[in-house]
């Protein structure tokens, strides 16, 4: 699911624009998490085709990673790039709000 680091620069050059580096924090395969991933995938395909990469982090397996991005709510989507960091929490069922959260659409 995740795109390897050394490909980032290549991709940005190919795209001629910013790469959306997204992280989805989940805790196990809960319905909320599964829904969130599916929703995210759909939104990205529709609005950011080819310009994104998604890293899914399961905190049950890597609990130490929760601190770095100050994760409290699950699921949390973090837009690591482009800066500034943005966070969208929830199952991402409201596409409009996800787009606002990712700064893809003005409020």
């Amino acid at each position: 699911m995740s795109i390897r680091e050394d490909e980032t620069l290549e991709l940005e050059q190919e795209l001629g624009g910013p790469l959306f580096d997204l992280r989805l924090y989940v805790a196990g395969q809960t319905p909320k998490c599964v829904t969130a991933f599916a929703n995210l995938k759909g939104i990205c395909e529709e609005h950011l085709e080819g310009k994104y990469r998604i890293e899914v982090i399961d905190l049950l397996q890597n609990p130490q990673l929760a601190e770095g991005d100050q994760i409290l709510a699950i699921p949390t989507l973090v837009r690591r790039l482009p800066t500034p960091i943005r966070k969208v929490i929830g199952d991402l069922s409201n596409t409009e709000r996800v787009l606002v959260g990712l700064d893809l659409r003005p409020l």
């Binding site: 924090y25 409290l72 069922s93």
Partner: protein, 589 residues
């Protein structure tokens, strides 16, 4: 909720609720052992009440004293800030973190960064907490201030549910938790939830009264345990929070009949010969300038000379001033201060509230362990509280000191106008030994006098004694009773002079009578000598007479013999015949 309650019921152990000592001085006393083990305790309070200090102290003591590592999850201060802030209170958090006895986690919530869409939970928080607990094997958790998460998320329904789940989860985890909450307008927490989920609720409070601030702590609830029901004052200083559960003390002090000399021999004599009892409360009251502090100084010096420690709470004069002034009556406190037998604690009564004073005094006594505690004077406390409050405070102080068999020596200033028996703080009934100093105004003078108003449990003098302050301390003078009562000052001097004159006169009289007697004796002896001379003269005369007679008798006998010889020649037969009747012839002669 009903599910979790029934779970809790089945999980309850048979015995009494196990508790973990908090390590906060006094708290374990009022909670009857500490905080509920493996459960959550809510610490609620206003801004600046010391909630964070409470939590940190709980963790630090757990890590240091009870081998229970702790996790501090802070929502407000960053670890760097926290370490720095707590260092001022004497907690070295960094060292604990390095020793893996403490881990600090900062949870940052910024709503501006977060967009919400759809369903979520706070599993991330649980994961972090779980990870932190497992990493160092924590037994204690502090979350400061948990309600901050309410500011980060909009869905209160989710947060409430998650908070419930968190409490449940912490319980299942078996960690003893302290959760802090900001109290709002009389409510213990902003969302009215935490206090119901916690097994123990402690409220911290800071109140301003007459510009004097006092912190208090109250155990609002404690499931499955008895606890003190009052508000207890506490203070935060170096070493963190210390609570004074003073009213938890009963009236069951051990008493001792051991005595504590007052430092003035004649005063001891007035008090049954040996001075105060140990553990008794002594009040020295008097009008301004009667020398209350000097009496204190005497007791102080005597105690220090015996090697006992004395603690002096000065509320009016600075230690230097007291030292200087006492030097004028020959009491030098400086060496005792250097030797560490005497400690001063000087503060204006209005510096802080009564409770704070009490807390301060407790702390000092705990640290220094004196046998004599001096409060000089107690009068001004009225400025820091009402008379009822002052009395309440003094009761608790006296109780505390009595329980430690410490002699408490109070001075109290009485106004000239008031009855002398009235002490301003209204503490007379609390006092065991009350010495009253007053001025006697007679003959255009004011002279100092004292008497023992009361002294429980010992015979004491009923005399009013004049005393003077000399270069060598206070001296109680002899009692002189004149027609108008006790003689003092120059009246005493006159009396003394009169008595001295009387004594001289008496001595002179004795001497003169002795001389008279001697003269008489001499006269008698002279007479005796004269008579003896007469007698001897007569005796001599008599002897002479006797001699003469004997001589004459001799002569006569010789004459007769001579005559007989003559007659024998004439008629020898006739002589022989006459010899038989010679005696007859002698008797005739």
């Amino acid at each position: 909720m009903s599910v979790s309650n029934s779970q809790q019921f089945t999980e309850l152990p048979d015995g009494p609720m196990p508790k973990v000592p908090s390590g906060i001085q006094g708290l374990d006393q009022i909670t009857d052992g500490g905080l509920p083990q493996g459960r959550a305790t809510l610490v609620s309070g206003d801004v600046g009440c010391g909630k964070t200090v409470f939590g940190v102290q709980f963790l630090v003591h757990g890590a240091l004293d009870y081998d229970e590592p702790g996790v501090l999850m802070t929502f407000e201060e960053t670890p760097a800030e926290l370490v720095q802030n707590m260092f001022a209170l004497g907690f070295d958090l960094k060292a604990l973190v390095d020793q893996r006895k403490l881990s600090i986690h900062y949870v940052h919530i910024d709503r501006r960064e977060i967009e919400e869409t759809g369903e979520y939970d706070l599993e991330g928080l649980f994961v972090r907490l779980n990870y932190a607990i497992d990493t160092i094997g924590a037994k204690r958790v502090v979350m400061d201030t948990i309600e901050s998460i309410f500011s980060g998320f909009s869905s209160e329904a989710i947060l409430r549910a998650e908070l419930r789940r968190l409490f449940r989860w912490l319980k299942d985890k078996g960690v003893t938790t302290v959760i802090t909450a900001e109290s709002v307008a009389g409510h213990l927490s902003r969302h009215g939830l935490e206090e119901f989920l916690s097994d123990c609720v402690i409220r911290l409070d800071r109140r301003l009264s007459e510009e004097v601030s006092t912190r208090r702590v109250e155990i609002v609830k404690y499931r499955g345990s008895t606890h003190g029901a009052n508000e207890y004052p506490f203070l935060i200083d170096h070493g963190g929070i210390s609570i004074l559960p003073i009213t938890a003390l009963g009236l069951n002090h051990d008493v001792t009949s051991e005595r504590f000399p007052s430092g003035i021999d004649r005063m001891d004599a007035m008090l049954g010969g040996e001075g105060f009892y140990r553990g008794s409360t002594v009040l020295i009251s008097g009008t301004a300038g009667t020398g209350k502090t000097s009496f204190v100084g005497q007791a102080l010096e005597a105690a220090c000379q015996r090697g006992e420690r004395c603690l002096y709470f000065a509320f009016e004069e600075s230690p230097e001033q007291i030292t200087r002034n006492l030097r004028s009556i020959g009491i030098d406190l400086a060496p005792w201060r250097e030797k560490g037998l005497l400690r001063f604690s000087a503060a204006r009564p209005t510096l802080y509230g009564l409770e704070m004073h009490l807390a301060q005094m407790h702390k000092c006594v705990e640290e220094f362990e004196p046998t004599l505690v001096i409060l000089d004077p107690i009068t001004n406390f009225v400025m820091a509280g009402t008379q009822v409050q002052v009395k309440g405070m003094l009761i608790r102080l006296i109780d505390y000191l009595k329980s430690r068999k410490i002699v408490s020596l109070f001075t109290s200033l009485t106004d000239g106008g008031d009855a002398l028996e009235q002490s301003e703080a209204g503490v007379s009934s609390l006092i065991d030994t009350w010495i009253l100093l007053k001025f006697l105004e007679t003959g255009g003078e004011r002279n100092r006098a004292l008497y023992v108003l009361k002294s429980r449990g010992m015979p004491h003098s009923n005399q009013i004694r004049e005393y003077v302050m000399t270069d060598h301390g206070i001296r109680l003078l002899d009692v002189y009773l004149g027609p108008a009562g006790v003689l003092t000052g120059s009246a005493r001097y006159v009396q003394e002079a009169r008595e001295r004159a009387e004594a001289v006169r008496y001595q002179q009289e004795i001497a003169s009578r002795e001389r008279e007697l001697e003269r008489q004796r001499e006269a008698v002896e002279r007479q005796i000598a004269g008579l003896r001379a007469d007698f001897e003269a007569k005796q001599d005369e008599f002897r002479r007479f006797l001699n003469q007679e004997e001589t004459r008798d001799e002569v006569r006998r010789e004459d007769r013999q001579a005559m007989a010889r003559l007659r024998h020649d004439i008629d020898e037969r006739e002589w022989a015949g006459r010899r038989g009747s010679r005696s007859e012839g002698d008797g005739v002669r």
